[in-house]
């Protein structure tokens, strides 16, 4: 099934793009999908441990199950305020 990764700020700069589609096995967890993503995209690997991830507009845990069409956002440390 197809999911999409969105990048912001430093993750966008290092990815060199703001969006990446990825075909993942049905029933994948967020963690499994991220493993696939980071295998392919070496430049953003150093940000993984400091980033949070959202499915849609909610922060999600690594064991969250993905659905077809989910948008997964990579959220490097926030700097609002």
């Amino acid at each position: 099934m197809l999911v999409r990764f969105h990048f912001y700020s430093i993750s966008k700069e290092l990815a060199g793009q703001c969006e990446v589609p990825l075909d993942v096995p049905s029933g994948s967890t967020l963690g499994a999908a991220l493993d696939m993503l980071f295998d392919r995209m070496e430049p953003i690997r150093p940000l993984r441990s400091s980033s949070l991830f959202a499915i849609g507009t909610h922060y999600a845990r690594m064991d969250a199950l993905l659905s077809e069409g989910d948008i997964i956002s990579m959220i490097p440390p926030t700097q609002g305020g």
Partner: protein, 141 residues
């Protein structure tokens, strides 16, 4: 009835006086976070704020509702600016209204702490040197 927060992410200057306070408030505490003139010791012209807008609005709303409930607020406003914010202008505005001032102060302080932790907004300082280079015709071609 639970107080509804007023949350927004805006692209232009922030006019806090536009947001009237609620009847029933005895104390109104407002915080404005202003863009400072330096970043990491270097002079800047301003900060360009980037947001994951839908999620930032959702997170601000969640924080606001939690804060309203915990502190029994009679009003709550949070406006965050995105795009370029020049030095000296407000990038963020938080208001907490309550019957007593202690709740309003504590709610406001906690709101900003949480905002900084989880709301997907990032800053890109525009250094004075960058802008000067860009403004200098001799360096443009």
């Amino acid at each position: 009835m639970m107080t509804e927060p007023l949350i927004d992410i805006i692209d232009g200057p922030l006019h806090s006086a536009d947001y009237k306070w609620s009847s029933g408030s005895g104390a109104v505490v407002e915080f404005s976070g202003i863009v400072r003139g330096t970043e990491e010791g270097q002079l800047i012209r301003g900060i360009d704020y980037e947001a994951f807008r839908e999620m930032a609005l959702a997170e601000l709303g969640r924080i606001a509702r939690e804060t309203i409930e915990k502190y029994e607020l009679t009003g709550c406003v949070c406006i965050h600016r995105v795009g370029f914010v020049p030095v000296g202008e407000a990038a963020v505005y938080v208001r907490a209204e309550a019957w007593h001032r202690r709740a309003a102060f504590e709610a406001n302080i906690e709101f900003i702490e949480k905002l900084k932790q989880t709301v997907p907004i990032w800053k890109h300082p525009i250094f004075a040197s960058e802008s000067l280079a860009a403004d200098d015709p001799s360096s443009s071609g």
